[in-house]
């Protein structure tokens, strides 16, 4: 009985964590956050998965829990691709916003760069513009930072193509002008420390 209630709480906790994450989560991360053993977490994730697939009450959710790339992540179901496309086209523009361009510039010159570094340099939370750049294929994930586990981003070949250059080295240097990129990245690091 106690076991059961416990399970239910973990179920909701995992649902909450999955909801705020947009990267696949591995069992280790979930263990650290919830303090529960790996096997209990795995069993609960499977239960969540089944629940979203309608195996409990016949109610198939608009989203699903998938186990991909060594982690668990919420995805929409492919049968809703049409509505999602219709939704995405509403706000879609052919040009990048100023905010997206700024984030792209930071990543291009500091790469690999994490979201928090982009945010520090721009002075505002940049999560959503980084997501836009990812969706647009201008940047890609490139491993994680050793200590923080934060995802690092680099620009893609498609970005080089759009800019008409062959490699990142061909980007015009900005270091001799005013504060160098090195300085900027040092500054960003020093600001990491509280």
């Amino acid at each position: 009985m106690i076991e059961d209630r416990y399970q239910t709480q973990l179920f909701a906790q995992l649902e909450a964590i999955l909801m705020v994450s947009d990267e696949p989560l591995n069992l280790e991360q979930l263990t650290r956050a919830t303090g529960q053993p790996v096997d209990v977490i795995e069993a609960t994730l499977t239960a969540i998965q089944r629940d979203y697939d309608g195996e409990n009450d016949g109610k198939v959710r608009g989203f699903q829990l998938r186990h991909v790339a060594g982690g668990w992540r919420l995805y929409t179901r492919s049968e809703h691709a049409d509505v999602i496309a219709a939704f995405m086209l509403q706000g879609a523009t052919q040009k990048l916003s100023q905010a997206s361009l700024e984030a792209l510039a930071v990543i291009a010159y500091l790469q690999p760069a994490t979201r928090s570094k982009v945010a520090q340099i721009r002075g505002v939370n940049s999560d959503s513009v980084v997501r836009t750049l990812l969706t647009r294929g201008l940047i890609a994930e490139d491993g994680v930072e050793e200590f923080t586990g934060a995802v690092r981003y680099t620009t893609t070949d498609y970005f080089l193509e759009l800019l008409g250059i062959n490699s990142i080295e061909e980007l015009p240097k900005i270091s001799p002008l005013l504060p160098g990129v090195d300085e900027a990245s040092q500054l960003a690091e020093s600001q990491d420390k509280p």
């Binding site: 909801m19 510039a105 010159y109 340099i121 015009p172 002008l177 500054l187």
Partner: protein, 265 residues
């Protein structure tokens, strides 16, 4: 008393004067300090023992370091301190001696100060409420969803017309802004044009000398703003002090006549 870290002026003051008898906390402005002094005496803001609070306020203000960084804020403290001091002085003087007009002005000034203090208190409470709401809301984290890779191809093709040089210039802007946090003293809130006292005195000297005698009304007839009127009046006061002019007024609120004073031999 705990010393929570806030910014700017108050931090510095608190650090430099640890152990000072007032047991300073951080204040975000003169009104903040006034309110806290009043609160410490457990008094309603409407029943302040003005003289006592004034003493404490002045003691605090005297600890402010007028370095460049805190100058602006210190000035704000000084304005309130000066007002309080004036009110205190008025109370200490025997009643009935002062000019009735002057007393009225003091009363108005005091009411204005307390009205502003009450207004500030209201917004301070509103800020507290906003903070609590934000804290409660912060326990609920919103979904930051994004289209998944399989959806990306429905987006219209990207138009990217920046040259590598444009792009570099943009990057430079971003890094520059980051490196030099704007720290200039804002003057955006000052809209009154500056009127120079020296210029106005020179102008009036010329006019009065020429005419020999002029009314104040005609001296300000071409003044296009209140500020010019005020500065010309101040100019006349300095000219009177320097014994350059004489003036007289036949009746209260009547015309003031200004005369150039011939230098004595």
């Amino acid at each position: 008393m705990s010393q929570t870290a806030t910014q700017g002026l108050t931090d510095e003051v608190a650090e430099e004067h640890v152990g000072f008898e007032l047991a300073l906390t951080n204040f975000s402005g003169p009104f903040d300090l006034l309110l806290s002094l009043i609160a410490r005496r457990r008094m309603d803001v409407t029943e302040i023992a003005l003289a006592e609070v004034t003493d404490e306020f002045l003691a605090y203000v005297s600890t402010l370091e007028t370095t460049e960084e805190v100058l602006e804020n210190s000035t704000a403290f000084m304005v309130v301190a000066a007002t309080l001091l004036e009110l205190k002085t008025a109370r200490l003087l025997p009643a009935g001696i002062g000019d009735a007009q002057e007393e009225m002005t003091l009363l108005e000034e005091r009411d204005l100060l307390f009205a502003r203090l009450l207004q500030y208190r209201a917004f301070k409470q509103a800020a507290e409420m906003i903070k609590h709401r934000m804290q409660t809301q912060a326990t609920m984290v919103p979904r930051q969803g994004a289209p998944e890779p399989q959806h990306a191809n429905v987006l219209p093709e990207l138009i990217f017309d920046l040259s590598p040089e444009d792009f570099a210039a943009l990057a430079q802007d971003v890094f520059t802004k980051f490196a030099e946090e704007p720290e200039e003293v804002g003057t955006g809130h000052l809209h009154a044009p500056i009127v120079s006292l020296a210029e106005q005195v020179a102008l009036m000297t010329m006019r009065i000398k020429q005419a020999g005698k002029l009314t104040f009304g005609s001296l300000i007839s071409d003044a296009n703003t209140t500020m010019v009127v005020v500065v010309r009046f101040l100019g006349l006061l300095t000219m009177y002090r320097d014994r350059l002019i004489d003036w007289h007024q036949d009746e209260p609120l009547g015309d003031i006549t200004v005369k150039w004073r011939e230098p004595h031999d």
